[in-house]
Amino acid sequence: MSDAIFQIGADGIDTEAIVAEIRATVAQKTKEGVYADSRIGRAERFNLMNFKNEEDFLPFYLDCLKDAVFVDINDFEIYERRARLARPLVVLKKYIWKILKFYTYRLWSQQNQVNGLLLTAVENIETRYRSKISALEKRVAELEQNATGNSGS
């Protein structure tokens, strides 16, 4: 963000300009993948209802969905905070995880496949209808312009 925008002038602070600068920064960082984070997708769950009447609800919703759609089923570091018996507890936990993974991996990977397919389908539908609506709006505008031109002549 440029510092110039955050100067405190004699007339006060132009918070509209600051917010515009913040939005530009967010747009840039989003392109760079800074906000591609599943935690953000999950944090937006309560925000989605706020956008239900907004034109940009669906793209925003899909962005969140993209970040949250896949269940993390990979291995993770297993540790034990209690110093006493730490090693045997870690071994036990690893063993439990191994069994759980054996029984659940197939289920969760199928779920991830379904989630991914559903998301792709919704994205395709959204893109297709958005372009169709855009073309229709353009056509209506042309027809209206022609009608105005004809009635004027």
């Binding site: 132009d14 989003t30 937006e44």
Partner: protein
């Protein structure tokens, strides 16, 4: 010149003790200020304290509060609560409810025949009747008794009930409408074509806060944001706790959150240790907590005034609000006292800026304070109210 000397206020509940609500507090404060200004003020309300059960818990009769003559009338007990809830559900689930739904909703809402009879009998005793908020059957019915003298304080939000025909009728029927903020007036103009000459932005005044006197502070964390008020989904508190959790995880900053007010706090377990819940506290303690915060965060999208952000500014603390709320965003833009976000990334950037740029943060707090002192002093608000009553 104040030509309206005898003023009646009508509100389904009276703000006293445990009965707390933004609209109720607003109407009571306006009544108190009108009485202080020398007007003859009567407050007509019900014996109910709960806006859910509407049970008559207070004794009927008259009582004086701060120079205001308060009349408590019993709520009619013949309402069909099931029909009311059913109609309310239909209205909330669709933007355009049927006329039957609307009739069920109004008829089975809160009513007081004795209050209506009093208004009818004393129609010549009052120059103006100020009533609100718009959401209650009692206000809808009371406004039909002497509409030519009725002044509505709607506390209007962009919600399903605002789109009902009965709401439109109410706005069309009354003599004058007093709004809390410019965006609320703009919403009414958009929905009901309210003519400019009958609408006025008045709001509520705030008493100055003496921060220097606030030394007896509760135990507070070193660096925190604050939220004061009801904790519920409609107010956006779960969104706030989710955002702060992710903010702490992503940035590694140990910024905490302080809550005052009522209701349980819905938050991820991982955030629990970073939450300080002060519950109900005195005004002085609330202001002390506000004064020490990095920012007051108000994630609610349905506010008609946003009293708490005005209080926060009086304490010199800038605010961070949800952009969807036209009212809160408008306050921030006009005052220069805060920032607004639409989503998590904007929240993260805004809060980071507020944490990193202390000079800017302090200047925003000062700008907010100046705005409240100029626009929301009681002197200014009372002036605007009398102007609206005389119009």
């Amino acid at each position: 010149m104040n030509t309206a000397k005898r003023i009646a206020f009508v509100c389904p509940r009276f703000a006293e003790g445990g009965t707390v609500g933004g609209a109720e507090t607003l109407l009571r404060n306006l009544a108190t200020q009108a009485a202080k200004a020398g007007q003859q003020v009567t407050f007509l309300t019900t014996c109910a304290t709960s806006h859910v059960s509407w049970t008559n818990t207070l004794p009927p009769g008259r009582k004086s509060f701060d120079g205001v003559d308060v009349h408590f009338f019993p709520v009619d007990q013949d309402r069909n609560e099931g029909a009311f809830l059913h109609a309310q559900q239909s209205i909330c689930s669709q933007r355009k409810a049927t006329l039957d739904d609307e009739a069920e909703w109004v008829d089975n809402g809160v009513h007081s025949s004795e209050l209506y009879a009093h208004l009818d009998t004393h129609r010549e005793d009052y120059d103006r009747i100020i009533m609100g908020p718009y959401l209650f059957g009692l206000v809808y019915k009371a406004s039909t008794i002497i509409p030519e003298k009725t002044v509505l304080v709607p506390c209007l939000h962009d919600e399903s009930f605002a789109y009902l025909d009965c709401t439109r009728n109410l706005f069309e029927r009354v003599r004058t409408i007093m709004f809390n903020a410019q965006p609320e007036r703009a919403l009414a103009e958009r929905l009901f074509n309210v003519p400019r000459e009958k609408s006025h932005v008045v709001g509520m005044g705030l008493d100055p806060v003496n921060i220097k006197a606030l030394t007896d502070s509760p135990m507070l964390p070193p660096q925190y944001i604050i939220y004061c008020g009801r904790r519920e989904t409609m107010k956006g508190t779960p969104l706030l706790t989710d955002y702060l959790t992710v903010f702490r995880q992503r940035t590694g900053r140990d910024i905490r959150i302080v809550f005052t007010g009522s209701g349980s706090i819905e938050a991820p377990d991982i955030l629990r240790s970073a939450i300080t819940d002060l519950g109900f506290v005195s005004e002085a303690h609330k202001h002390a907590a506000m004064a020490g915060a990095v920012a007051f965060c108000h994630p609610s999208v349905n506010e008609s005034l946003g009293i708490v952000i005005l209080e926060s500014w009086l304490c010199g603390t800038p605010v961070l609000v949800h952009a969807i709320s036209d009212v809160l965003r408008d306050h921030c833009a006009r005052s220069g006292g805060g920032l607004w976000f639409r989503n998590y990334p904007e929240f993260e950037e805004s809060l980071t800026l507020m944490l990193d740029r202390k000079d800017l943060n302090q200047a925003m707090g000062e700008a907010g304070r100046k705005y409240v002192q100029e626009e929301y002093s009681w002197e200014r608000v009372t002036q605007k109210m009398f102007h609206a009553l005389d119009a």
